[in-house]
């Protein structure tokens, strides 16, 4: 009896050894593929090292830092008003949204609050930059899967939003418009009517994308059931924003947090999706864009009159203390932890950007997918390189 078992064991070992020999001789062990830092799918300089077995990924590792600009350190040698110029280059597609949490943190330390009109306009521009950001995502999504046409629709309609932001702030990409205690200027004449019509246009764009992409059977087979992130994993990896909501976690800082922004004055729905796959993430973003256009419309209708700047000393000195403020940015939760020692500039700033945490889930989610799915999963996680490497 023991003899038989031993023989079985021997056969097993022999088979294993034969397999190993074949693998060594023919070098079938797998292939390391280096995706990036220069690669069309990483829109920027993200590098992902994947180990492939055929076309299947057995191991993946994102390697960030090719575009690190040292913003946290740079803030230490700048005054508060200068810092907004820097930080609005973090997520370059929704720049205004980057300024807001930092300004709010500084205001919290100084114990001042912007006047209501400034708060409303801040929220308005915040949502406009969300639309500008996510509408590009919706177009780019197609490009990552080989559908070239939606990209151009996205660029065409985003242009109108950028024009709005430009007319209000003077800058298309980097407004640098937010000030401690309020805003730089008031809205220009004719802004409200123009914005209403652009929002209608954007809603049409959302319908168009839904027709072109989300209803497309090829798109659905490529995204449904691919790159599933369950609720627990999403929370453990610290995902935020649409990625988290797509995993079924109903968490939105706009609704769940009291900040001096006007989200409590408007009526909006926080969309979630139970699936947690690539399709869910894209779908939640699409719905969010629609919701954001509705928020903008409501904000415009209820815009209060009044000053746009609170009483602020000419030279801003922030009293000693520490403050943490985070907001629901287009990419997810973005927060600033500001430590002040009472000088003209902060002593230390910690920036929590959404994309850095969002791509940290890639080693987990990319395991077992095929090479084409790497691209769709990355596209659906939606990162901006500047948001990963501050």
């Amino acid at each position: 009896m023991t003899d038989l078992v031993d023989r079985k064991k021997l056969n097993y070992i022999a088979a294993q050894a034969a397999d190993a020999r074949v693998n060594v001789e023919l070098e079938t062990g797998g292939m390391t593929l280096n995706i990036g830092p220069q690669h069309p799918a990483t829109h920027g300089t993200l590098r992902i090292i994947v180990r492939l077995d055929g076309e299947q990924v057995v191991w993946a590792e994102p390697s960030a830092g090719y575009m690190h600009r040292g913003y946290e350190k740079l803030t230490e040698v700048r005054t508060y008003p200068q810092i907004t110029t820097l930080i609005n280059r973090i997520d370059w597609l929704g720049s205004f949204a980057n300024e807001v949490p930092f300004i709010l943190a500084a205001e919290k330390l100084m114990d001042i609050e912007a006047p209501p009109r400034a708060q409303w306009i801040r929220t308005l521009l915040f949502e406009l930059s969300r639309i500008a950001n996510i509408s590009l995502f919706l177009g780019d999504l197609g490009a990552q899967m080989g559908a070239v046409t939606p990209v151009f629709y996205a660029f065409r309609d985003r242009e109108h939003v950028l024009n709005l932001i430009e007319s209000a702030t003077g800058g298309r990409f980097h407004p640098n418009f937010d000030r401690i205690g309020g805003l730089k200027e008031d809205l220009p004449a004719g802004f409200i009517d123009e914005t209403h019509s652009v929002m209608r246009r954007l809603r049409n764009f959302c319908d168009e994308v839904e027709d072109l992409l989300f209803g497309n059977i090829v798109f659905q087979t490529r995204t449904r059931g691919v790159g599933v992130i369950p609720k627990e994993v999403a929370v453990q990896y610290g995902l935020s924003g649409a990625n988290l909501r797509a995993s079924g976690v109903d968490w939105d800082l706009r609704r769940d947090q009291r900040l001096p922004l006007s989200y409590d004055k408007v009526d909006f729905k926080v969309w979630t999706h139970p699936d947690g796959d690539s399709f869910a993430r894209c779908w939640v973003r699409l719905q969010e864009t629609r919701e954001a256009t509705k928020i903008v419309d409501q904000l415009l209708d209820g815009l209060p009159a009044g000053p746009i700047m609170a009483k602020v000393p000419r030279i801003i000195k922030v009293p000693e203390g520490e403050a943490w403020v985070s907001t629901e940015n287009p990419l997810g939760e973005m927060g600033y932890y500001v430590v002040s020692k009472g000088a003209l500039g902060p002593f230390r700033v910690k920036i929590r950007s959404a994309s850095f945490n969002n791509i940290s889930v890639t080693p987990w989610v990319l395991r077992g997918v095929y090479v084409p799915d790497i691209v769709t999963v990355l596209a659906s996680l939606y990162f901006i390189l500047g948001d990963i490497d501050r």
């Binding site: 292939m31 280096n34 080989g146 559908a147 151009f152 629709y153 992409l213 490529r222 090479v371 084409p372």
Partner: protein, 355 residues
């Protein structure tokens, strides 16, 4: 008729020139009309406008640009094979055009195994793509080349099976006779011969399968995994630059034109229009004695028009769809297209015997 005797070398020269024209003219038209202009209008932009009126000289500008570029190849590449690959891809389109009938007397060659020959030489390009991917010594190229090999072999089969339906119905493999079968006096759909018998109508399933297979064979979206610019950079042609890339580029769009020509000949009646419209009585199968001589000039134009319509569909789909994944594509070929085309063959055979 002017009776001129052309010596043999002159005939060969004319054939070569004609073949070159037949490959390059459709390719150029497709690139300018569809790739530059139609795609731009679909994407709400103007496309090239500077070079020539409405950018019509853009193509020459691009060709000039590519010809000036340095001929780069990777250090690790197998250089002889690497240089040969794009030519091999282009050659298959030239070989394909050789059997195309353009008019009653306008053809390069006319032989009985035309369809068989056509299907055989169309797979030479697969070889070119595979060796391009293999010899580039790049991982992206390798993945692209292997994907191409798998895909092109998988879609060769439904394409052949779709053509088998046509061959059964026509009862011949000679392309000239297939044209005759679709247009002659006797061609009729259940006794009605107002339109002749374009196999588009009677072989509709075959036509759809053929066009899908052609889309895959040409590696156009939604079947463009071998190129897949967002994941594999450019697939098998990642490492190519300069005029070698230009040859790949010409080959790609020349192949769109040539496959559209084949589809037009097999399913849309080729160069012909229903002969009964003009009272041409060609009763002997495959003889065009009664067909007017001016069809030798008008025929190519008709065929060209049909080709443009079909390649419009190919390019239209290309710009509207995202791409599938490799395994989904294989599943589609083996589990959907091949069974349907087998059923199509069976039905065709039954109808052929019954009527």
């Amino acid at each position: 008729m002017i009776a001129v005797t052309i010596p043999y070398w002159g005939q060969s020269l004319l054939r070569v020139l004609g073949g070159t024209l037949a490959v390059l003219l459709p390719a150029g038209t497709i690139v300018y009309l569809f790739l530059f202009k139609m795609m731009s209008f679909m994407q709400s932009r103007l496309g090239p406008m500077e070079a020539g009126p409405y950018g019509s000289m853009q193509l020459f500008a691009e060709v000039g640009k590519w010809l000036q570029k340095e001929d780069l190849y990777p250090e690790q590449a197998d250089k002889r094979i690497f240089k040969m690959a794009p030519l091999l891809v282009l050659v298959s389109t030239f070989l394909l055009v050789a059997v195309m009938p353009w008019g009653p007397d306008a053809y390069f060659t006319n032989f009985d195994a035309g369809v068989f020959y056509m299907l055989a030489v169309s797979s030479i390009s697969t070889l070119g793509i595979l060796i391009a991917g293999w010899s580039s010594a790049s991982k992206y190229s390798l993945l692209g080349g292997l994907r191409a090999a798998g895909q092109l072999i998988a879609y060769e089969l439904p394409m052949i099976l779709a053509v088998v339906g046509v061959v059964i119905q026509a009862g011949t493999m000679n392309l000239q006779q297939i044209v005759w079968q679709q247009n002659s006096e006797q061609a009729a759909i259940f006794g009605w011969n107002g339109l002749g018998n374009p196999y588009l109508l009677t072989q509709f399933i075959g036509f759809v399968i053929f066009m899908i297979a052609v889309q895959a064979e040409l590696t156009q979206t939604p079947f463009d995994m071998p190129i897949a610019e967002s994941e594999l950079v450019s697939g098998y042609m990642t490492e190519y630059s300069g005029f070698r890339f230009l040859i790949f580029f010409i080959a790609e769009f020349a192949a769109v034109g040539v496959f559209s020509l084949i589809a037009a000949t097999l399913f849309l009646g080729g160069w012909g229009i229903p002969f009964s419209w003009f009272g041409w009585e060609s009763t002997v199968p495959g003889s065009f004695t009664d067909v007017a001589n001016w069809m030798n000039v008008v025929g190519p134009i008709i065929l060209f028009t049909k080709m443009i319509v079909l390649s419009f569909i190919v390019i239209w789909v290309r710009f509207s769809y995202p791409r599938l994944r490799e395994d989904q594509l294989q599943r589609f070929a083996w589990k959907v297209l091949i069974p349907i085309s087998l059923i199509n063959i069976m039905l065709t055979a039954i109808f052929k015997v019954m009527f």
